[in-house]
Symmetry: C2
Subunit: 203 residues, 2 copies
């Protein structure tokens, strides 16, 4: 079925915004640049996406889908749950390194005060956590679903923090190999402690 | 010695900017609001601080000093190195919870493209890492200074990630007690794995 004019407009705006964020970062995103790049009038953006924030969410949605695919591929690389968690962490680092601005936009973007992030977008973030839940459920089978979701979220956040502060160059600048090593060591040490502590608790 | 007019101006601007960031967040900070609050002309800000970014750094500098004091107090609460790392993590969470906007400004603020963060400010961030280095050096005595600094930075970043994504309400909203529990469990599990892996390596 042929795309409607509105669909074409939305896609052009989405591509233009994605390219602006990718090359210059979210902070530099301006509605007038995006509409100029997309070859449409400024008002068209507000017809197509309601506002610039919803256009950013559409870009983030596309980034999340790509990130999710990367994580799924990493997860499929091994059956050993500890190795899976490690592969997920390294795939996360790799994605952030390869797409620094698009990745940062996932977390640097905030809705205006008193405007909630729509549920469909929260669900897309939750898909990332679900990838961590799978192997973690095999490492800590004694946790119920709620505790497991929290645990997965905590592990995700820790890995995120390591990747984020490194890619932003806070504190010490790290070369990519050193960062990869540090992250691997950290995840391995954590998983060893996790297995050990939960085994101890079961005895 | 009496303060000069310029010193009084700088302090008024600093107090005004801090109060704006504390109550409304960094993203809402405007030069004209700060100068209005401080009771001076817009141009005075640029005489006193060069630009708004340097005023933000001055606010962040004050926040870092308070955070550093909190971490030092937490560190002094126990001699056991594992307990110290845990106390530091919990003090970090507490500080972020009590001062969400000032704390977020430490990490959300970016200098304009091509402008570096001044060394004196990087050194203030490094003081936080140094607090983690102290107990960690006793847990992993085999690491040299450089490896230890990296390790401390990694642990700091992981804790930061857990606190940051929680306080921002990404993914799942957590009540403060559940967050405290998750963070404690995570740090304990990590430290157990760290002790275990380094002991294994030494054998």
């Amino acid at each position: 079925m042929a795309k409607t004019k509105r669909e074409i407009l939305k896609e052009n705006l989405l591509n233009a915004a994605e390219e602006r964020i990718r090359t210059q970062g979210l902070a530099a995103l301006r509605a007038r640049d995006v509409t100029k790049d997309a070859g449409c009038a400024l008002g068209s953006l507000y017809n197509a996406y309601e506002d610039l924030d919803l256009l950013v969410l559409a870009v983030n949605s596309r980034t999340l889908a790509r990130l999710h695919t990367s994580l799924q591929q990493a997860s499929a690389s091994t059956e050993v749950p500890e190795e899976r968690v490690l592969a997920l962490a390294l795939a996360y680092l790799e994605f952030g390194t390869a797409n620094p601005n698009l990745w940062a936009a996932l977390f640097d973007h905030h809705m205006p005060p008193d405007v909630s992030v729509p549920d469909w977008h929260l669900d897309e973030h939750a898909l990332l956590i679900a990838e961590v839940v799978k192997p973690l459920s095999r490492i800590t089978p004694e946790l119920d679903d709620q505790a497991l979701a929290l645990r997965a979220r905590t592990v995700f956040s820790a890995v995120h923090g390591i990747v984020k502060l490194s890619l932003e160059g806070r504190f010490v600048a790290l070369d990519p190999e050193a960062l990869r090593f540090e992250l691997s060591e950290f995840v391995r040490q954590y998983l060893r402690g996790l297995r050990f502590s939960d085994a101890a608790r079961r005895q």
